[in-house]
């Protein structure tokens, strides 16, 4: 066993999850493939969304995968970093908006 929870080489083995549950694995990969096709949003736009979400959910495999995907699509590093900031802003906003709950509770409990 690897002495680390994350091994970059494991990303290549992602497809092997179907071996232990073929039906669910295949359904997932079909769905995944379909999601990232050109649609109302371009595949390029979806790649940037995926990159932002990869950071928010802190998935090292997804960060590697969608940085490479962005490079392949000719996406610039400035565009990639802006996408990461969009994700980070929502994540920090999600924390900060709970400040209203804190304020509500504070005010309710205070005379």
């Amino acid at each position: 066993m690897a002495n680390s929870y994350y091994d970059p080489a494991d990303l290549r083995k992602f497809g092997s999850i179907t071996e232990w549950s073929e039906e669910l694995g295949n359904k997932f990969f079909d769905y995944y493939g379909k999601v990232f096709e050109e649609g109302a949003l371009s595949a390029r736009e979806k790649s940037l969304i995926a990159l932002a979400v990869a950071h928010v959910v802190k998935c090292p495999y997804c960060i590697d995968a969608y940085t490479k995907d962005g490079l392949q699509r000719g996406i610039t590093k400035e565009e990639m970093m802006e996408a990461v900031h969009a994700g980070a802003a929502i994540e920090s906003g999600a924390t900060l908006v709970h400040g209203v709950q804190m304020m509500n509770k504070y005010n309710k409990l205070s005379m």
């Binding site: 290549r12 371009s42 595949a43 390029r44 490479k68 490079l71 392949q72 699509r73 000719g74 610039t76």
Partner: protein, 362 residues
């Protein structure tokens, strides 16, 4: 990743691997790596075994369509990814005598496309004479692969757009990205601005304008250890950006995969990307691309007249497996009967939508 190794490479990259006496200047060493443990231990399949699975081994030529002639390895640039290991220090230049042998073949070939490449082909002292003579043969599509910056590099090259126009040459030019940063990183400082000027010069004489018969196509190849994206999407992005930012027009974009040989192989190894890159190529293997891979319709001629299945095999010194191995003995029927020489670098031409000097093939 070894950033310091990479910056060392950048400093060194002002010279060819050959001039630096780098071990990868030795084609045998490159072949040892391509046949190395990653494949020998069975982790990844040999290209031969991969194509055999779909009944495509041995790979045989189809009708000859393209005669590609490399007129020399000298170049004004030293691009980090160059599979030719070209540069100002390379002295391998096609002589007029070999050009005359090539002209004899050009006049009689069944191929519809003549494709001149290098190095910077324009640096061959007999380049203009050769183009003038070759144009007389009336071949359907006459390509010159120009790196663009050569046009702006010296006054004596400033009239190249007019010269190309006069001989109805189809210009195919490298342009790694529509942003300055990515272009200069791969090809050297100042390359982007010079390339933009050169494209404007070509546009000014009519090249690349929609509906113009003066064809101007661009070649995109990735500036790093990743594969090219969708060719049509890249073309759309390039067209939009070059038009909006610089009022530049061109016809088509060819997306070409970097093959793991020569300076690109050196980069992959030094940046610790070799294994991942080979995995990416093998995973993206597409049997439909094998069907139309360029070695099945191309003959590549080296500066000294030897014949190869493609420009990549030329750089690995893998001559055609035929009784005819030199332009002076050229015989199209005999050549068409050969088996194409393959190795693991061939995965570069069969990944995804495939890759050739004319872009995707599948």
């Amino acid at each position: 990743m070894g950033q310091s190794i990479l910056s060392d490479m950048k400093r060194a990259a002002k010279k060819s691997l050959k001039a630096r006496e780098n071990e990868l200047a030795n084609t045998n060493r490159q072949m040892e790596i391509l046949n190395g443990a990653l494949f020998a231990d069975g982790e990844l399949p040999y290209f031969k075994d991969k194509i055999a699975k779909t009944g495509q081994f041995p790979l045989k030529p189809k009708t000859l369509e393209i005669l590609q002639i490399n007129v020399g390895y000298m170049c004004n640039q030293v691009c980090e990814h160059c599979h030719v290991d070209a540069g100002p220090d390379r002295k391998e230049i096609m002589t007029r005598e070999t050009m005359e042998q090539c002209l004899e073949v050009i006049r009689n070939t069944g191929a519809h496309t003549l494709d001149l490449t290098g190095g910077a082909p324009e640096m061959n002292p007999n380049f203009r004479w050769f183009v003038e003579e070759a144009a007389k043969a009336g071949i359907q599509d006459f390509i010159v692969r120009s790196n663009l910056t050569i046009i702006r590099s010296n006054k004596k090259y400033h009239d190249l757009p007019e010269f190309f126009k006069k001989h109805n040459v189809h210009v195919v030019s490298s342009m790694p990205h529509y942003t300055r940063g990515k272009t200069d990183k791969q090809r050297g400082d100042g390359v982007f601005d010079k390339s933009i000027q050169a494209l404007q010069d070509l546009n000014a004489v009519g090249y690349g304008i929609p509906d113009s018969n003066l064809r101007l196509d661009l070649v995109y190849n990735p500036s790093g250890a990743f594969l090219p994206g969708d060719q049509a999407a890249m073309e759309h992005d390039f067209k939009k950006a070059l038009k909006e930012d610089f009022n530049i027009d061109f016809h088509n974009l060819f997306a070409i995969t970097n093959l793991p040989i020569s300076r690109f192989l050196d980069y992959l190894i030094a940046s610790d990307n070799y294994e991942d890159y080979m995995y990416a190529l093998v995973e993206a293997y597409n049997p439909a691309a094998v069907e139309n891979v360029m070695c099945t319709n191309t003959i590549s001629v080296s500066w000294d007249g030897w014949l190869y299945d493609c420009d990549f095999n030329q750089m690995l010194d893998l001559k055609v497996a035929s009784k005819v191995q030199h332009i002076k003995d050229y015989n199209e029927d005999l050549l068409n009967d050969r088996e194409i020489i393959i190795s693991q670098h061939c995965y570069g031409c069969t990944a995804g939508a495939g890759s050739s000097c004319q872009g995707t093939v599948a």
